[in-house]
């Protein structure tokens, strides 16, 4: 807390995204989600409720759009299904998409928070500090994905959300949020922290597969991969490289190529330049049938 410290730390907090000259080292947590494997079963979402003390808001509040799922499964129909002159049936199925905080490298939410309750960590995560939050909700207003969830009510004290018995299930490593604060997917930061502590005490960095997010761990089709993008041995690193998706680009070189690409990795709303840390792999559909 000093002026000089402020000026010094300013750049450290603000410019750890790779667009600037400060690459992440040794960790940059990232994810890749294979939509072809995702079956839309919701296991990830329930696992997230279990891991991160998410409140079940009930029908009335759900109706008001006040649900708190950090990871939601979206499903899309083709544009012409059910339209005038379009296909009568969705005969190529639905398209499922797990959507959670994309941990953007240049996160629109971070710059606008008046109190700096959401920051970029050196691991490339978009942190949300509950106790610092004053609830201006500017971050959510500015989030293109709308994956930030606000505590509209004081869920711990709301009837039937956590009856006495159910409080025993709450994960002690995750703060239970009171009313008036913003929250969102943390990439299970409590698990990352625990893994880093273990690794640090052994004098190494966290190895691939050593830490899993709750959604990844549950996913029955293993559609979600998570790991350290800096580590060349990690599955996520290999996947991103194979798909030629680069973290610090708002347009990938492969997309510029004539005749398109045979690679299916993409990031959502990439051209808005948030530099999201989640890569999706397009769903594949058989052309022979």
């Amino acid at each position: 807390m000093s002026i000089s410290n402020l000026l010094e730390n300013w750049s450290q907090f603000r410019h750890t995204h790779p667009v600037e000259d400060k690459p992440h080292d040794p960790y940059k947590w990232a994810m890749s989600i294979d939509l072809d494997a995702c079956s839309g079963c919701n296991a990830c979402s329930v696992a997230c409720y279990a891991e991160n003390n998410l409140p079940v808001v009930g029908k009335e509040k759900y109706a008001n759009g006040q649900v708190m799922h950090w990871i939601r499964i979206e499903h899309y129909w083709d544009e012409d299904v059910g339209e005038e002159g379009g296909r009568e049936f969705p005969d190529q199925g639905a398209q499922f998409l797990p959507m959670m905080c994309q941990q953007c490298e240049a996160a629109p939410c971070e710059t606008v928070c008046p109190v700096g309750a959401t920051n970029h960590t050196p691991d490339g995560l978009n942190s949300q500090i509950y106790n610092r939050c004053i609830g201006s909700r500017y971050c959510s207003a500015n989030c293109p994905y709308k994956v930030r969830y606000f505590n509209w009510y004081d869920y711990p004290s709301t009837e039937n959300i956590w009856p006495a018995e159910m409080t025993q299930q709450l994960n002690p490593d995750v703060t239970v949020r009171g009313k008036g604060v913003m929250e969102k997917c943390t990439f299970c930061v409590q698990r990352l922290a625990a893994a880093k502590v273990t690794a640090k005490s052994e004098g190494r960095i966290v190895q691939d597969g050593e830490v899993q997010t709750a959604c990844q761990q549950a996913c029955p089709t293993s559609a979600i991969s998570f790991g350290n993008l800096v580590d060349p041995e990690s599955r996520v690193h290999k996947q991103w490289r194979a798909q030629q998706v680069e973290l610090d680009k708002d347009k990938q070189a492969k997309d510029e190529k004539e005749g398109g690409t045979e690679l299916r990795g993409y990031r959502i709303l990439e051209d808005m330049r948030p530099y999201p840390s989640v890569m999706y792999l397009e769903r594949v559909r058989e052309s022979a049938i």
């Binding site: 008001n64 006040q66 609830g135 207003a141 606000f150």
Partner: protein, 460 residues
């Protein structure tokens, strides 16, 4: 017609204005009580919201902001006209402002106070509001200076304090008059305290003029910047319908617009209630009306600029929001805004309506409604129809808590204003005197030059 009669006696001015400080009529109490009741509604809503959580306001994901922010902009906008009248016109030596600037400046201060409350009401954890203040603390943390919201807080706070200073400084000679004319009670003490030993010496007048001018100069950039910063709350985000470079001038124009409309409303009310016909004359009203008309046209133009720049851009999301505004669930409100903001002011173009008090009263109320709707139509449709289609939600309406708070804010404003009018002179006595003096001097001069000219003619 003249802005003011040149032959009003100074003593009559004092008498007329001080009359407004006398014991109020019954109607005053009735209005005061209604205002209090309205405020009570808002307080009730806030207590409820504070206890239960922001959810009772019916906000949700994606409707993160609601009427609070819309009404906040409305009140901030309202404040601008006071500065326009008192500071900008002061510097431009438009002396017709003199009888009416005092209440306009009071309006500025009170609407800022109201707007500030909306910031607090909007916060999810208002009890932690001090986290947003940059002061040395035991946590060793600073607020985020990159956030437009923080600039906002700073700009409003600065503007509010400057406005209060400006209002107060401009009132000192009048307070001295009050002190001298009122002989007992708490008011005497109050005026004695506040008039700072004003004697009306030459030195005091000289210092007074310098101070007044300095604060006025200081206030103008503030007024412009405050609403530009409020505009940057929106313009600096990436949301469709907000991410528009013309937002700052658009907001400032809108602010002046709504402020002028509010001045017309209050002008008419004060003129009637305090019988200020001698000072708040129809020619002055006419000038304000014309000014309002001009600003209305500027606002309409900037609106058109905004639509055009969205329409001809490649930003499909912004276009969709615009289409949604015009044809979706918000369409009635949006078209009402266009009607109130751009069509209704056309009435003001006709000379015969420029001094027609009932028409003007109705028009000014409609303009204010239009400007409030404008703010709502900036905030809400963007949330309901954002970048990410999965979260579109066109059917989430503000709950009674939000409406109650908006409703109550008018009560709060009225309350402050009514109290102000009974405690402080709402027409600037010394400046009216100046005006009368200058005008009489001028007409004397004109008569003389007229005589001279006539004489000269005769000489030929």
């Amino acid at each position: 017609m003249k802005d003011i009669r040149e032959d009003i006696a100074w003593a009559k001015i004092n008498q007329d204005v001080l009359k407004s400080l006398e014991n109020p009529r019954k109607l005053y109490w009735v209005i005061l009580f209604i205002a209090l009741a309205m405020l009570g509604v808002a307080v009730g809503c806030e207590v409820y919201q504070y206890e239960v959580g922001m959810g009772v306001a019916n906000m949700d994901n994606p409707h993160m902001w609601g009427l609070y922010i819309a009404t906040f902009i409305f009140w901030i906008g309202m404040s601008h006209s006071g500065t326009l009248l008192s500071a900008i016109l002061h510097l431009m030596h438009a002396d017709w402002r003199k009888p009416i600037y005092r209440f306009a400046e009071a309006m500025t201060t009170f609407s800022l106070l109201t707007a500030g409350l909306f910031v607090a009401v909007h916060l999810g954890r208002v009890w932690q509001i001090y986290y947003a203040l940059p002061y040395p603390n035991e946590r060793g943390t600073w607020p985020n200076f990159q956030s437009p919201l923080l600039w906002d807080a700073m700009a409003i706070f600065t503007y509010l304090s400057s406005s209060i200073i400006f209002l107060y400084v401009g009132m000192i000679p009048d307070l001295a008059i009050c002190r001298d004319r009122i002989h007992e009670g708490w008011r005497k003490k109050l005026y004695t305290l506040l008039s700072l030993g004003w004697e009306g010496t030459d030195r005091q007048w000289r210092n007074f003029r310098v101070t007044y001018l300095t604060v006025a100069c200081f206030l103008i950039p503030l007024a412009v910047s405050v609403h530009s910063i409020v505009a940057s709350d929106f313009g600096m985000s990436q949301q469709p319908g907000w991410h528009i470079t013309s937002f700052p001038p658009y907001f400032v124009a809108g602010a002046l617009y709504s402020g002028c409309a509010a001045i017309i409303t209050l002008f008419i009310i004060l003129r009637y209630v305090f019988r200020f016909e001698e000072y708040m004359t129809l020619p002055i009203l006419k000038k304000i009306v014309r000014l309002t008309f001009a600003i209305a046209m500027v606002w309409t133009y900037l609106n058109a600029v905004e639509f055009a720049s969205v329409w001809y851009s490649h930003d499909q999301a912004s276009k969709d929001v615009l289409i949604q505004k015009a044809s979706g669930t918000y369409a009635p409100f949006w078209w009402a805004m266009i009607f109130c903001g751009s069509i209704v002011p056309l009435v003001l173009a006709f000379k015969r309506f420029q001094t027609n008090i009932p028409v003007l009263f109705a028009v000014s109320l409609l303009l204010n409604l239009g400007m409030w709707l404008e703010r709502w139509m900036i905030v809400a449709p963007t949330f309901s129809h954002g970048i990410y289609p999965w979260t579109w939600d066109h059917d989430q309406w503000p709950s009674f808590v939000q409406w109650g708070m908006v409703f109550g804010s008018f009560g709060w404003f009225t309350l402050l204003f009514m109290v102000f009018c009974k405690v402080f002179p709402s027409v600037s006595m010394y400046e009216v005197k100046e005006m009368v003096y200058h005008r009489s001097q001028q007409s004397k001069k004109q008569e003389e030059t007229g005589k001279f000219a006539a004489a000269g003619k005769g000489a030929h």
